[in-house]
């Protein structure tokens, strides 16, 4: 039971439509999230990380839709095809929040400023559990206390503007965790926070994972966060997962040129002043006017003619896959 799969995404394609143009925001993405494990999705802005999360939660904006692919939630009552559900329907609403919960990037805009924190936690409990009014109130206080918020009895009646950034994010996690979800999707949960507060939030998420066996999907752009928290990692670039595998494999033996370039472009703490950082030339292509083949080809140092065609997803080993024509050369160059 320990490592069973909580969610499978297979060949997912989500497109956005705008002014008669089509943005293939996600173009064939497959991965799975395992119970009690953290999957980190890492990539630059605009690569489709957040759209992946929104697709799973069925929270996509109106001018976009899932074109192809399967999202399967392996719940306690057998598998459920999330992509086939009506996004406002009863079954989706019972999964969203209860079984799969989400933490958003900016706690100030994600919390409603005109309702107290307590109300917003109790709202979740009201819809998803059969608890009574009193019990809901006590549970809300318990949740805030377990998130390390001081004086929860008083804080529960306060409004978001009285909370600091770190406390707001913790309140958001309290809302997300209120119904003991089996999957927690965290979309850049600490990007707006200071490092010392970030460390507090990570500690908290780690505890949740260990104690409740929650499956976590963490979206980030910070390779440091990946190294600290992830069990598995998926590197995204322009709507594709270009490389995925266990964190040790991907970070020690990256075979996709983008993963390598990404790792080479950040200064790493502890390597001193002499470390060499290599910038990735150019910038990400216009999402409405993408290159035909490999999306990274224009910025890649190892480009060959074949890169004008989209490379297939290839297994390097059992749990390590990559999308690159030349991965074999990179796999054997012993980096």
């Amino acid at each position: 039971m320990e490592h069973d799969v909580a969610l499978t995404v297979k060949g997912l394609k989500t497109y956005f439509y705008n002014n008669n143009r089509c943005n293939r925001a996600i173009d064939g993405v497959s991965f799975e999230i395992r119970q009690g494990k953290t999957l980190c999705i890492v990539g630059e802005s605009g690569c489709g990380k957040s759209v992946t999360a929104a697709s799973i939660m069925q929270l996509l904006p109106t001018l976009s839709r899932i074109e192809e692919g399967e999202i399967t939630y392996h719940g306690p009552d057998g598998p459920v095809r999330i992509d086939a559900l009506d996004r406002g329907g009863a079954q989706m609403r019972s999964i969203r929040g209860k079984e799969i919960a989400m933490i958003f990037q900016d706690p100030m805009t994600a919390l409603n400023p005109v309702y107290s924190i307590g109300f917003q936690i109790k709202e979740m409990l009201m819809y998803h559990t059969g608890l009574g009014r009193r019990e809901r109130h006590d549970k809300a206080i318990d949740l805030l206390a377990s998130m390390g918020i001081p004086l929860p009895e008083r804080r529960v009646n306060e409004y978001p503007h009285l909370y600091s950034g770190g406390m707001r994010q913790r309140a958001m996690i309290a809302i997300a965790m209120s119904c003991n979800p089996r999957i927690l999707i965290a979309d850049e949960p600490t990007t707006a926070l200071d490092v010392t507060i970030q460390a507090q939030i990570f500690e908290l998420m780690d505890t949740l994972k260990r104690e409740n066996g929650t499956a976590i999907m963490l979206i980030t752009h910070d390779m440091g966060v990946v190294a600290e928290l992830a069990d598995d990692v998926a590197v995204m670039y322009m709507g594709n997962i270009v490389e995925a595998g266990p964190v040790g494999t991907v970070m020690r033996n990256p075979v996709h040129p983008y993963t390598r370039a990404l790792l080479d472009s950040i200064p790493v703490l502890g390597r001193g002043k002499d470390q060499e950082i290599k910038a990735i030339p150019g910038q990400t292509p216009d999402p409405y006017d993408r290159p035909k083949g490999c999306q990274f080809a224009d910025r890649c140092r190892h480009r060959i003619d074949k890169c004008d065609q989209m490379p297939p997803e290839t297994q390097v080993s059992d749990d390590h896959r990559v999308m690159c024509w030349r991965y074999e050369e990179f796999a054997s160059d012993g980096r």
Partner: protein, 335 residues
């Protein structure tokens, strides 16, 4: 780089009044910068790091006299001797604005969207005596080439550029009148990692070429390690530790710096260090704690920390001086 200060700050305080009630009476002060002594040496990169709200940006602005210090002095030393900037009026500052420039954090709001790039970049040139338009166009073109952009970019508008390009335009603007010192206020924080490396390399190349001095304000300690010669760590408006970059990472003295360093996620799987998780949030600068500002969150806090404000004292170090403000560090060199 022997002691040749370009700027000397002595006991600089910036307090902002807080006005409340109908009569807008001053009821308190935000002590954004609270007594800072700092020298900036010619040709160095000085890092100013700290969490949000610690006063690093205000200090940066106080250096440029964009905010006037409520107390203390900022002295500029150039070929024509020393000048106290804090006592100059706007007309008197005119000559010094040419030598001290700033690159702002947000590349999206620091360029006027109604002006072409040339319109934004020619302003400083016009003020500082480049009379003909043809000459200005030539200089702006050269500047854009210096920051790896095309000359033709000058006739386009800010919205046509990506974040990284806009930040490079911001750097070109700061360079336009040949400054001696540039304050970079979180100049790379809003950029994607691959673009961040491009801008960092550009800054370092320009520094070598033009013999610039940088004050680099950031919250990212991995970037400062790569970039800076000396680092000042700030907490609640005070400098708590100041020393050579290498010394700071190898021999951290102040408990706050230790916690800050340990909280940074490191993109290196072989370097899993013990995280020191600080409890609580940064206290309000309106009503800072008594004694050492860090004592409510400090693991080692003792009675003396609650009552006495520690002064910045010099400690023994491999090369140069290591300054720290803490009661509990042994062996100060001089009191």
């Amino acid at each position: 780089m022997a002691a040749d200060p370009i700027l000397s700050l002595r006991n600089v305080e910036v307090h902002f009044p807080v006005r409340t009630g109908v009569l807008k009476r001053v009821t308190a002060h935000v002590r954004a910068v609270d007594g800072v002594d700092l020298d900036v040496y010619r040709g160095e990169v000085l890092g100013l790091v700290g969490e949000s709200g610690c006063g690093k940006t205000t200090l940066g602005k106080a250096i440029l006299q964009l905010v006037r210090a409520t107390q203390g002095t900022v002295t500029y030393s150039g070929e024509d001797g020393e000048t106290e900037l804090t006592t100059q009026d706007d007309a008197g500052l005119f000559a010094f604005r040419k030598r001290l420039q700033i690159v702002f954090q947000d590349p999206h709001s620091s360029l006027n969207p109604a002006f072409t790039i040339f319109g934004s970049l020619e302003d400083p040139l016009r003020h500082y005596g480049v009379k003909t338009r043809a000459e200005r166009r030539k200089i702006v073109g050269d500047l854009l080439e210096a920051v790896n952009m095309r000359r033709e970019a000058m006739d386009r508008y800010p919205h046509e550029f990506s974040g990284g390009q806009r930040q490079r335009i911001g750097i070109a603007r700061a360079l336009s009148i040949d400054p001696e010192l540039i304050v970079c206020d979180e100049a790379v924080s809003a950029l994607d990692v691959s673009i961040q490396a491009q801008v960092l390399q550009l800054l370092m190349d320009l520094k070598r070429e033009k013999n610039l001095t940088y004050v680099f304000i950031t919250h990212d300690l991995s970037v400062t390690e790569y970039l800076c010669d000396r680092i000042a760590v700030m907490y609640l408006g005070k400098v708590v530790e100041l020393c050579d970059a290498e010394e700071l990472y190898s021999n951290t003295l102040h408990p706050y710096t230790q916690a800050l360093l340990s909280a940074i996620p490191v993109a290196d799987l072989d370097r899993k260090s013990q995280r020191i998780v600080l409890q609580g949030d940064v206290p309000s600068p309106i009503n800072p704690p008594s004694g050492c500002p860090f004592h409510p969150r400090c693991r080692f806090a003792q009675d003396i920390c609650r009552t006495d404000v520690p002064r910045l004292r010099a400690y023994k170090a491999g090369s140069g001086v290591h300054m720290a403000a803490c009661h509990l560090i042994d062996q100060p060199l001089a009191d």
